[in-house]
């Protein structure tokens, strides 16, 4: 079966930078699967998800492939790209208040994609918008509201309804809860999970919160400095991290199970884009780093007996021992 999303060796270069901002990203999503993409700020999560819709910054150059249902997005004609954006792939953005034009009514926002492209008639579009608003727990009356009259949580629900308008096979959610208060966050996460099941779409959930990622996804990708450093099933990654960066992220994230434990911040800064990288990008911040790490870039290697659990680290095995000691 073809994968809903298959990113192969994606390399993305921005103007005036010394190294690719995305460097050999491999990531795939099976039909109906939920995949989380995790990493700290600036690691390239947003660029990765935007590349799926070919929403690239000016002057960006790409290599590799981004296949959606078997078709390479990076090689699409404008017409094909247009069809992709109106139908198969939809994106939920981080800040709904910035993402929705404040001068147009919510109804206009919901229906404009399908209406302007002639996918649905005006009446059908409005009917569908009403149904989806109900599905996200809002009344049809908000169709006539302006965004300024609604709360952030309500607007993010509108955003989710809008994403479902074109019957997508893949939802891209880029930190959909970061701009919301805690209660709305939980509601929105639950809603996305529920709707994804109901409509049978694949989901790429971008977040910097490893706990949240593990809670909602089947598999997790951990990104550092534009590279996927570890990927695997959510539980395996949690129980047995094989990359020091994943390990450090886990140690740095609060967990309710062990409330008394001190959080360990990750020392140092992620590498600057104006700086060339040799070897492992995490080496300067890694307590396992050796001479090998600074000269040779590690390739992804499967964990013993777990072909789906890959880590790009020269010292994965030492890490496992270290964890056992601790």
């Amino acid at each position: 079966m073809t994968r809903t999303l298959d990113i192969k060796s994606l390399r993305l270069r921005l103007p005036d930078t010394a190294r690719p901002v995305l460097d050999g990203v491999d990531l795939h999503i099976a039909a109906g699967e939920t995949v989380a993409l995790v990493g700290e700020s600036g690691s390239g999560k947003t660029l990765t998800s935007r590349t799926v819709l070919r929403l690239l910054p000016k002057g960006a150059e790409t290599e590799g492939e981004v296949d959606v249902a078997g078709e390479n997005v990076l090689a699409m004609t404008p017409q094909q790209l247009h069809a992709l954006r109106t139908g198969r792939v939809a994106m939920i953005f981080q800040d709904p208040r910035a993402a929705i034009n404040p001068l147009r009514r919510v109804g206009d926002f919901l229906t404009e994609g399908v209406r302007l492209t002639g996918t649905l008639s005006e009446q059908d579009a409005t009917r569908r918008a009403g149904e989806l608003l109900e599905a996200v727990g809002l009344s049809g009356a908000v169709l006539r509201h302006y965004p300024g009259q609604m709360s952030g949580g309500m607007l993010q629900r509108v955003m989710i309804a809008a994403a479902l308008m074109g019957d997508p096979v893949l939802l891209l959610a880029d930190e959909p809860t970061t701009a919301l208060d805690v209660t709305s966050q939980a509601e929105v996460v639950a809603l996305i999970g529920e709707l994804k099941e109901r409509f049978g779409t694949g989901l790429l959930f971008v977040t910097h919160d490893l706990g949240l990622a593990a809670a909602i996804s089947d598999r997790v990708y951990v990104m550092y400095a534009g590279r996927i450093v570890e990927t695997g099933p959510a539980e395996a990654l949690f129980a047995d991290p094989r990359h020091p960066y994943t390990r450090a992220l886990l140690d740095a994230s609060p967990r309710l199970i062990e409330p008394g434990r001190r959080l360990a911040a990750i020392d140092g800064q992620p590498p600057d884009l104006r700086q060339e990288l040799t070897g492992c990008p995490f080496a300067p911040r890694c307590r396992f780093a050796t001479g090998l790490c600074t000269t040779q870039a590690p390739q992804p290697q499967a964990a013993p007996g777990a072909p789906g659990h890959l880590a790009a680290c020269h010292h994965s095995d030492r890490l496992a021992e270290g964890a056992a000691d601790a």
Binding site: L55, A83, R85, T86, N101
Partner: protein, 319 residues
């Protein structure tokens, strides 16, 4: 705010402003150097009796406040007094000259809006060399005073090529448009540059906005993205600038009408000022204040249409 309350508040505000303006204008004339009576006599030495007669006709001997309130009372009855220079009613002078000035301002405004919006739009959307060319051109336009533009246009298109008349107002609508074309261009040039820059900046700001990326990500055709999300959202800034533009147009007619010898309000104001024709100067000054307030009112009325999130009267006036 309800429309009735808005209207009532604005009418009161406008009345108060006009009253204040009338006092300032009258006071300025009173304090201005030079004596209308001696001007009327054109430097000839007059008998004390003749001087007294003139002073009496124009009530020049009365105290300031008596003269002010008499003038105000006449204004309220639509009587702007008699022109000293032209020896006719000022209201008739204004009525004769207003049409050419209004036509000139209207023609210039059409040029400013059409060219300013188009240039700003193209610059923002196209970028690159097209944008740089527009930036350079508008910089030159903004740096050219309208009387310099008037002289250049006159020299090239009227004198050298003979396509347009060098001066005069013309008779009848078509002839007037022909006579006023070069003056309107001279008047518009600076403001085209200004509006183009404002439009370009406002559109670029919107183009970089997240909601534009979102619209694109949803397959909204680029033309519609520009129309519905970029230009639409830039209109508020454009409208606010529009108020300023019309006010500037009105002021600059003085320079351009003089340069092209157009029998309009601007030229009349210049002549009346140099000849100390104070009833005429006062009437025109008040008329200009009234026009400014009207422009501002129109902008305020239009604003909620451009930005539905703003309620009537909530915008702070800027023009």
């Amino acid at each position: 705010m309800s429309f009735a309350r808005f209207a009532a508040r604005r009418l009161l505000e406008m009345a108060a402003t006009l009253l204040g303006a009338s006092f300032v204008i009258f006071g300025a004339m009173y304090l201005a150097p030079g004596d209308p009576a001696s001007f009327l006599l054109s430097g000839r030495s007059a008998s004390p009796a003749a001087l007294a007669a003139i002073n009496q006709q124009y009530h020049l001997d009365d105290p300031f406040f008596v003269r002010y309130f008499r003038w105000l009372g006449q204004l309220l009855h639509g009587d702007f007094g008699r022109s000293i220079e032209y020896r006719t009613d000022v209201s008739k002078l204004l009525a004769d000259r207003l049409p050419s000035t209004l036509l000139l301002v209207a023609m210039a405004l059409v040029l400013v809006v059409a060219a300013g919006l188009a240039l700003g739009w193209i610059g923002a959307v196209r970028g690159g060399a097209v944008d740089s060319t527009i930036l350079v051109t508008t910089t030159v336009a903004v740096g050219t005073p309208s009387f310099v533009a008037a002289i250049l246009l006159q020299g090239l298109f009227a004198v050298r090529l003979g396509w347009f008349p060098t001066s005069g107002t013309g008779q009848g609508f078509g002839d007037m448009v022909w006579h006023l074309t070069l003056p309107a261009i001279a008047l518009a040039l600076y403001l085209i540059g200004m509006l183009a820059r404002v439009t370009r900046a406002a559109m670029l700001e919107q183009l970089g906005g997240e909601h534009v990326a979102v619209a694109r990500s949803r397959g909204v055709p680029e033309r519609q993205v520009i129309w519905r999300h970029v230009l639409r959202n830039a209109l508020g800034t454009v409208l606010t600038t529009g108020g300023l533009i019309v006010s500037t147009l009105i002021i600059c007619t003085v320079l351009v009408e003089s340069a092209f010898s157009i029998g309009g309000i601007g030229q009349l104001l210049e002549l009346a000022t140099t000849t100390k024709d104070f009833p005429t100067v006062q009437a025109i000054s008040l008329l200009i204040v009234g026009l400014f307030m009207t422009v501002n009112l129109i902008v305020d009325l239009l604003f909620p249409l451009v930005d539905p999130t703003v309620t009537l009267g909530a915008r702070r006036s800027t023009a």
